[in-house]
Symmetry: none
Subunit: 207 residues, 4 copies
């Protein structure tokens, strides 16, 4: 009875989702340590035991949340195509980054979790998040090196510059996300992205 299986699987997946969503909100509000299982199950409106039917531990939910987010983000990080006939690198970058920002900013709790990097949750989760950011920095650094080779990018310390650019993006995300709920972004995310890219590319100096 495949129908039944599908339904059963669906039910399980649904519950899992429900818990993940509750956990994401709680982690976003209280941080990893501040988040209590009590708060999570309360928000998910389930019993204590039910939680452990779906996740091995508090750390496990956090990890699952991270994995999910990281998978989504990875899909949205597209390497720039510098081959002949490709669109301008800037345009490509703009598209890629725009989608990424839109995704992150649209999910405030997720953004909060992702920005909580240095909060040092229990070892493994921290390592996972750190690893993700290292990966991102790597991609950026590589792109910078490529850009330098083809004369597109100024000479710079690729890793340090990557760290700086990542920080820059995080700064923007934080700015977009940490504003009162009633005061939405005054500009479409595409504009924010364009500005962000301009800033990164040409700096703040006039002309």
């Amino acid at each position: 009875m495949p129908a039944e299986d599908v339904r059963a699987l669906g039910a399980r997946a649904e519950r899992r989702r429900q818990i993940l969503d509750a956990a994401k909100q709680v982690f976003a509000e209280a941080g990893y340590h501040g988040a209590s299982i009590h708060a999570i199950i309360e928000r998910a409106a389930i019993a204590r035991g039910t939680f452990y039917l779906y996740f091995e531990s508090k750390e496990a939910v956090f990890g699952a949340l991270l994995d999910e987010a990281m998978t989504e983000l990875r899909h949205r990080i597209v390497r720039i195509d510098t081959g002949p006939g490709a669109r301008s690198p800037k345009d490509q970058l703009e598209d890629s980054l725009s989608g990424l920002l839109a995704f992150v900013v649209a999910d405030r709790p997720l953004a909060a979790v992702l920005l909580s990097s240095s909060s040092t949750p229990d070892a493994e989760a921290a390592a996972r998040l750190a690893g993700f950011y290292a990966e991102v920095r790597q991609v950026i650094a590589l792109s910078l090196e490529t850009g330098m080779q083809i004369g597109l990018i100024r000479r710079c310390h690729p890793e340090r510059t990557a760290a700086a650019l990542l920080g820059l993006v995080r700064g923007i995300v934080e700015h977009c996300v940490t504003r009162p709920v009633d005061q939405p972004l005054d500009q479409p995310i595409a504009d924010v992205t364009r500005e962000l890219i301009d800033l990164a590319l040409v700096g703040v100096l006039a002309r």
Copy 2:
């Protein structure tokens, strides 16, 4: 007996220092939640009760640490003098930022504490740190606006750009600070600063 008072006060201040230093290290190593009073008093080589003679609570030490750091940082944030006869804004910025970076990077524990922003410690401390960063952003935003008025800075959303630039600096600091102890920075902090400023000012594009 003023002499005695002074001595007593001195002794008291010394003890306080001793605890603050121990706490800074522990917070840096373990994060706010991971830091235990036990670890702090052990490193400070004092008794449990003594701790509470000098600080009301764990949150209070964290707050004190933050205040101290923020005071130091405020002193090093100098508004750019755009008056006639002043040195070039870039040079001024470079000096100011260079000192600031040197100060932060030299005190890893302090940097770790400052970067732990979103780790959401107990409400009040988080708010204080957030407030500090808001203040810094404010300074940057104001500078940007001034720069825009005098045509030095391109047109941009001042607050958002300030957020981005602050993130950029944090990214650099994080990069400088989170490297293995045995692998020191490969360049003097002044060079790092220059690069950082170049990046912020003229972006990554060649030419």
Copy 3:
């Protein structure tokens, strides 16, 4: 439809058996408290709810297991026939005990469960096991009294001696049962029985 009833009953009894066997192994391996319903249903390859269709509770299975074992043991405890023309009491004892030991030692899980007496499972089961041992002691004590009356047995405190003799048997059983699986008994159980009886009857002194 009696046929159906019988079949149903048979099926039910079979399921019950299946659960009992699984439970016996788990109790033997992990002790009463260490045994989890999860382990039992896993070994029995049934669903959680099914377990409770056959047994009221964890304690109930344990009780059933005990009852079963005790019934078996009772059948093998034969009162010595001291009537005229009966075989020698020693020979009778040897036969009876030999069968009993063989039965217990052959079923390690059962032995483990029986020896777990003082593990104090939930009140009632403990009481039941204690009751069984009391019953056995009673039989032994009675035999001793009879033996004393007919001059076969030395004067002694019958109950205490019975307790001692029971302990002796348990010591042997434990010894036979708690050896590595790969190292089987080096002697047939009949020999062990004979030695045990010799020991009980004539003690350890030479001659």
Copy 4:
């Protein structure tokens, strides 16, 4: 100030004693698994945290209890001196065993804990108790071998016989200890010991 140290040590030791005593009673009544920290601290009339100031874990108290008992018991297990001019082995054995029995029987909770052997508490504690009994069996087995060599003891399987004799003693202890509180032993422990030894030495047969 040694006096202070001594006093402090004394206070600490006293508390430890208090907890150990409470734990012993609880373990005796409820078994290892049935014993809850709650029950222990309730009986000791201390707070939860205090318990963990003196013992690392539930298993640790159990271990301490066992170690204490085993140390006491080891002191009372005296190897028989078979040298020339020594008292009769039987008399020596009687003295040794008498002291041992008196000690164990006088401390019912302790006896209960010691007899809970097979209750399989968490691995390590179980192993420790098992190890102790193995040690005792070893001593008995060795004595038997010695006795066999000097012709005092009948030919027998030393280890199995040791297991049987240990069981015998445990049977007696259990009998002495598991009687209603209001019905004390009807005979002095010395008499019980003598009978036990007689039984072990010459068996139950008349003559």
